[in-house]
């Protein structure tokens, strides 16, 4: 036992940093000393005043019995003053009397109402005097407020002021001379009997305990009544939808967690994010916090490293270094993901504030083009708020990042991954490494735009809140809001919200607005609203289709509709239905395909005509497949890939066909695919005995030429390319072999030597064709212009007139081959 700390201690040890932090936070919130005093003052007032009252009344009773009635107020006052005078000199020096010594507990005086003197203008003495005056005044006022029964005495006081009723000298008013025990003569005032009676009545009335008690009761009852009415009226106003509700805060805002312990998300999640935030401390607070704090925090991160060895709440990350060489965390961005309403934004804000940052939020409502985003990033991460009193560093929170354009996310990733060492320049300013934590929040972790971000970020997935926790929170809220709800109803509510705190609170508020006394389970279940439009993923729906659901046989249609992507689901069914059930006679397959075909027809009709009247049929087709295919054994459903793969490969081959077609537009696509391309490769692979053209026979050369001609006709070309093995190879472009054959194309490709020969021949063929074209043009011009002139002359003349200046050096080349003109001309005709 001795070796292991007991659970409590261990907890303390583990969470000591957080606890410390929490204590810090508490200290901060109550940091204002004046407020603190005031708070305690109020408290003391509340509790002590009835006791004080009692003492006073006791004293009065005593004095009443001891001496005569007339002097009861004065006697109670004088002894206490004397008492005070006795004590003071013995305890403190007269010079050092503090305010408290003088006046006892001054906490009962509301300093807010009393204007404290401005100390600059007055001397200390004056100040003290003034303070004393104020305190006396304040206390008097206090007494007036708290003890209304005493008011009478004070008001009617003048008659009973001790000094004026008893004197040792001869007064001016009517009196009776008396002698006290010492033999001194004193004079007692005589008062008119009526007046006396009057005043006595008043005093007794006010002093009578019963009446005060009764009045207090009365008052209390009134207050209770008023409160009741108030609640009733608010209930009424809820019902009729009066604006009162608007003035109130929404419950979601009102009960938003305000401290770490309030968070509803799972503890490991909170801790993971907080831990990550603390990893930034080295970079962020190194300069700003000069005192022990940074040191402490570095120690902290080291220590947690040790803790991780013993506690495996973080599992795999043990080996990974958490800080990179710049002292920044390994992951520069934390990516919070989870369904809506579980408190991701709240969590991010709260923890950022808790770790000493000022949260700066950018969400979908802000502009998120790359430029705007860059400015926002820069201003948030490089600058510091001037307005913020405590000069806290910023923590950037990117809410709803899954809706951001992909360029923006890429920019963020680039920004984050830029390290301090590498100065890969961003034009003007050298890229500063990211020095502030960035928290990104998304619903859909696998959104395509987030793909680059996923790789570099710490992914913290916030699961949906468990129903029990949610129910507990709802209980607290309903208690605070005076809503009477049965525990079961709350449980049902929590279950219905499926972990969405926001929805649960809204629903609770809605139910409260009804005029029922108590909210029952039935109310929750019958409420038509608040059913969350739950999104099941495509794969979940697919799994549901292939399994029999005994508990809720009818729920399949809902599941399908919730998943939405019917096309993908149908593809999934198509790819999995053959393995779903034993079906040796293929009857199930026939039936299933019938429904799939119907689906196809309906959906394409819908698309074609943009008429959605039959759209609701689609999930029914799928549900029908479920009834055919569902089985009790768990089927391993494959993700539908074939259709996508098919379209990808098809597009690949299609592009080859399109390239050929660009050269031969006059052939219809169908003919090209079915007749020309499948047979063309045979023509393109002539059999040559040797690669050297010079050694070939005439027929071989002919076939080679035919091949080259065909390649020219169809825009094909052998291009030399480097293969991955480092060799150069002649590859056909576009690759008609691939289009023509189903896997056996390699057999038919000509050997490399032949390819080279073909390529060379094709070059020659192209030159030959161009020449032909040129000659035909020239000869035509000559024939049309003048037939008497010789060919030579006309051609030279033509070239001179036709060609622009910069092309004139081509002249001799054309002239050199006049003999070929006639030959090719005849050949083509």
């Amino acid at each position: 036992m001795g070796d292991y700390p007991d659970p409590d201690e261990e907890y303390e040890l583990m969470y000591s940093d957080e606890l410390e932090l929490l204590r810090d936070m508490d200290g901060n919130t109550e940091s204002n000393p004046i407020r603190k005093k005031l708070q305690t003052a109020k408290r003391s007032l509340d509790f002590s005043s009835p006791v004080a009252k009692k003492i006073v009344s006791n004293e009065r009773r005593n004095s009443n019995t001891a001496s005569n009635n007339s002097t009861d107020g004065s006697f109670s006052l004088t002894p206490s003053l004397q008492h005070l005078d006795d004590i003071l000199p013995s305890s403190n020096g007269p010079n050092k009397r503090t305010v408290e010594d003088l006046f006892g507990d001054i906490n009962d005086i509301d300093f807010d109402n009393i204007q404290l003197p401005s100390k600059k203008q007055k001397t200390e003495e004056e100040c003290d005097m003034e303070l004393i005056d104020k305190i006396i005044e304040g206390r008097r006022q206090r007494q007036l407020l708290t003890e209304p029964s005493a008011r009478g005495i004070v008001n009617t006081g003048p008659n009973y002021v001790v000094k004026e009723n008893l004197t040792t000298s001869v007064p001016k008013w009517p009196f009776i001379p008396l002698k006290n025990s010492n033999g001194d003569r004193i004079y007692v005032r005589l008062v008119c009997e009526d007046l006396w009676e009057d005043s006595l009545d008043k005093v007794t009335n006010q002093l009578s305990l019963q009446t005060t008690y009764a009045s207090v009761w009365e008052e209390a009852r009134k207050i209770i009544e008023a409160k009741k009415q108030e609640t009733e009226s608010t209930e009424l106003s809820h019902e009729t939808g009066i604006k009162d509700n608007v003035v109130d805060e929404l419950w979601v805002e009102k009960y938003r967690p305000k401290s770490y312990v309030d968070l509803l998300s799972e503890e490991p999640v909170n801790r993971a994010l907080l831990h990550w935030l603390h990893l930034w401390d080295k970079v962020v607070f190194k300069k700003d916090v000069k005192t022990k704090e940074p040191h402490q925090r570095i120690a902290f991160s080291k220590r947690t490293g040790q803790f991780q060895m013993s506690n495996n709440w973080k599992g795999k990350k043990e080996n990974e270094p958490e800080l990179d060489e710049d002292g920044r965390p390994h992951h520069k961005v934390a990516l919070l993901c989870g369904p809506p309403g579980v408190g991701k934004t709240t969590l991010a804000h709260l923890l950022a504030r808790l770790a000493g940052y000022r949260p700066v939020e950018i969400n979908a409502s802000d502009e998120r083009s790359t430029e705007a985003f860059q400015t926002a990033l820069q201003s948030a991460t490089l600058m510091q708020s001037v307005l913020d009193a405590e000069r806290r560093p910023n923590c950037l929170i990117l809410d709803e990042i899954d809706g951001a354009p992909i360029q923006t996310v890429e920019l963020l990733v680039k920004w984050c991954t830029a390290s301090a060492k590498k100065e890969e320049g961003k034009k003007k300013n050298k890229t500063q490494p990211l020095k502030r934590p960035v928290i990104a929040i998304c619903n859909d972790l696998y959104a395509t735009s987030l793909r680059p971000l996923r790789l570099v970020s710490l992914i913290v997935s916030v699961g949906s809140t468990s129903a029990a926790r949610l129910a507990a929170r709802l209980t607290r809220v309903s208690r605070a809001e005076h809503v009477r709800v049965t525990a079961r109803a709350l449980g049902a509510l929590a279950a219905r919200a499926r972990g969405d705190v926001r929805t649960a609170l809204h629903l609770l508020a809605f139910l409260k607005a009804r005029d029922r006394e108590t909210i029952n389970v039935e109310d929750v279940e019958n409420a038509a609203i608040g059913t969350k439009d739950s999104t099941t993923s495509m794969m979940q729906a697919l799994q549901a289709i292939f399994t029999i659901n005994d508990s809720e046989p009818t729920s399949i249609l809902k599941t399908i509709q919730a998943a939405g992507e019917y096309d993908r689901i149908v593809e999934g069914i198509f790819e999995n239905y053959l393995t779903a059930r034993v079906d040796s006679r293929l009857l199930i397959a026939c039936e299933t395909t019938t429904w799939l075909r119907l689906y196809d027809i309906v959906s394409s009709w819908t698309q074609r005509t943009q008429n959605y009247s039959l759209y609701s049929l689609l999930p029914l087709c799928i549900a029908r497949c479920h009834s055919l295919l569902a089985s009790r054994q768990q089927l391993k459903v494959k993700f539908p890939m074939q259709a996508q793969e098919m379209s990808r490969r098809r597009a690949e081959l299609e592009s080859a066909v399109a390239a050929v077609r660009a050269a031969r537009v006059d052939v219809s696509r169908r003919a090209l695919r079915l007749d020309l391309l499948p047979l063309l490769p045979y023509v393109l692979s002539p059999t040559l005995r040797s690669a050297n053209i010079q050694l070939c026979s005439e027929t071989e050369r002919k076939s080679l030429r035919a091949c080259a001609g065909a390649m020219c006709d169809f825009g094909l070309q052998y291009s030399q390319q480097r293969t991955p093995e480092g060799l150069y190879a002649f590859l056909l472009e576009p690759d008609v072999y691939k289009v023509a054959f189903f896997g056996s194309e390699e057999r038919l490709r000509p050997p490399p030597a032949v390819r080279q020969a073909i390529a060379r021949e094709q070059q020659l063929e192209i030159i030959r064709r161009n020449e032909n074209m040129m000659n035909r043009m020239c000869s035509k011009n000559s024939s049309s212009e003048a037939k008497q002139k010789t060919d030579k002359q006309t051609i030279t003349k033509d070239v001179k007139t036709e060609l622009p200046n910069h092309l004139q050096r081509l002249q001799p080349k054309v002239i050199e081959k006049p003999t070929r003109v006639s030959v090719s001309f005849i050949y083509t005709n």
């Binding site: 009857l587 395909t593 066909v657 537009v665 006059d666 007749d675 692979s685 056996s744």
Partner: protein, 355 residues
Amino acid sequence: MSLWVDKHRPRDLMKLDYHKDQAIRLKSLVQQSDFPHLLVYGPSGAGKKTRIMCLLRELYGSGAERLRQETMHFTTPSNKKIEIMTVSSNYHIEVNPTDVGIHDRVVIMDLVKNVAQTHQIDSSGQREFKVVILNEVDDLTKDAQHALRRTMEKYVATCRLILIANSISRVIPAIRSRCLTIRVPAPTESEIANVLHIVCKKEGLSLPTELAMRIAKSSDRNLRRALLMCEASKVQQYPFTADQKVPEPDWQIFIKDTARMALSEQSPKKLGEVRQKLYELIIHGIPPDIIFAGLLKELVRNCDMSMKCQIASHAAQFEHRMRLGNKPIFHLEAFVAKFMAIYKKFMEDSLGDVF
């Protein structure tokens, strides 16, 4: 033009090798000053295009053969830019509107208007009208066909349309009634063999008659395919022998393999394998109706008579449904599954009788 198919294409109506009556009629049609819109239809490789080019040459002389390729640009109402390749001469323009998919309506409207609104520049030319050739009219969307029908009448003074289709069953009746329909039937096997002989003679080769017949038979009465096969077999092996291997398009072999697979075993597992093959065919751009036809042909060959009718009717039905839908693979697989089910039931029944 070095492929035999292109090199030895007849250029004159009078030099055509078959359907000579039709050629004479066409010639007389052209020699009259005016002629209506034409709708030329017939199976692939029957010689539709050849006849039309001959017709153009007859109309405008050899100038119609000087072709150039151009890319034309159009903007759809939804502001999408589309481009389409055209082949044109001074006298005609040829376009394949289905190249742009569902936007073919825009092409037809703009292109026909463009051409029709400009008169023939060369007034010395014989004709006052230009010709627009539209390929694959049966694959046009209904919208495009409807757009066509009014433009045909409106611009009849300045342009003539020649529509080419494989079958007129998918051409709307309104267009059919506005055109003179000319059917170009596929050549018979002997006609094909004859053409092969002529071409080989021109090339200076000697072709054994048996080989010519074999090629003609396996060409599916498609002259283009026959010529290509002939040339391919020449490249493979020249002095021809009567029993040499004639290369066939690989997809035909592949479809036959697929059908054989379906016949060999009827089980969901086999169906999965067949599916892969069907996917492969679709990837290679073989039109699904061709796949249907090929499968049916091969499957029926090995069936009992009582099943043949049943399977054929199913195939027809499934093919029709496929044209309504978007995903041909569903329908193809459904057909194979259906065939397997029928075949298996038949086999079990007949085996049951034996025992």
